[in-house]
Amino acid sequence: MLTARTRILFVSLLIAFALQLPAGARRRAVAAPVPSDELSIAFVDAGQALLDAGAIAFRPSKGRRGMATTTRTFGLRIGQPSREARGTATLRAFLETADSRCVVRIDGIVLGTAPRVIRHHAPIGIAMRHRLEIEVPPQAPEGALLTTIGWEVTTD
């Protein structure tokens, strides 16, 4: 004989397991997650996901603390384009391949090897402008610069 308390526990556990079933096996009681392919990251005006910062040289009127700096803005869209946001996501960025000579900022946030939040509640489907800033100290040697920025999107 099951006691009333045991029945309640049993039913509760059944509900817990039911929520883990594939979406097709039942009607979900929670908000449907956005599939990963609908979270694809597109760089709106950086063709081939490549951004050329051009020549980076110290300019007395622009330099910060004697640094050579350059800035570029670019658009980033999460998912397919849409007129209205189809949900929101948290956008993170990190240096996948770092060039030790420079400091890279996105929207003023210094990037490192660990992901850092660039934007909370970024709209899905709508391109947002971001600002890339590269800062090179005067001691750094001249030459070609290459860095790769990794991006991560997680639905809110």
Binding site: L9, P33, I41, D52, A57, P60, G66, F74, P138, E152
Partner: protein
């Protein structure tokens, strides 16, 4: 009752984890770091404006052999001429450059008025060729160069306006 509460909490946790989705991407950034140097005039005799930049103006006002020296100058009277003396401070900074020193030259922007001689570091300047002030300038340090304007007594009473163009070249 305690067990029921525990089961309900587990249910909510599972539901939250199931709703998150992730994606990733990569943006490659390229560029070229270029070396550069920057020259600034840090000080000069006369009433100056623009010090600390590369375009400085020095106003000596009205000058005469038997008058008083302009601000920041001394006046020395000779037998047939008179000399206004001061200094010019020039600083050259470098960025992303391995060079350890630089060469600094100066040249007049236009031919000097008749009977007027412009000198820097003891060397007479002309508008036709650059004069080397130093070939071993130290970066980020203000070099002080003597500046003399020698005016003959025979020179006409007129403006002596001119420009001194400095050029720094990394060695």
């Amino acid at each position: 009752m305690k067990k029921f509460v525990f089961a309900a909490v587990v249910t909510m946790m599972f539901a939250t984890v199931a709703s998150a989705a992730t994606s990733s991407g990569t943006l490659t950034v390229t560029g070229t770091v270029e070396s550069s140097i920057n020259l600034t005039i840090e000080s000069a005799g006369g009433t100056t404006s623009g010090t600390g930049t590369a375009a400085v103006t020095s106003d000596l006002g009205n000058i005469s052999k038997y008058g008083s020296a302009p601000t920041g100058f001394t006046l020395a009277r000779g037998a047939s001429d008179w000399t206004l003396s001061s200094t010019v401070g020039v600083k050259v900074e470098k960025a992303n450059l391995t060079s350890t020193d630089y060469t600094l030259t100066a040249q007049l922007g236009s031919a000097p008025a008749s009977g007027v001689v412009w000198k820097l570091n003891g060397s007479t300047l002309s508008d036709s060729a650059a004069t080397t002030l130093t070939s071993t300038g130290t970066y980020a340090s203000t070099g002080s160069y003597s500046w003399d304007v020698v005016i003959a007594d025979s020179a006409a009473a007129a403006a002596i306006d001119n420009a001194i163009d400095f050029t720094a070249t990394s060695n």
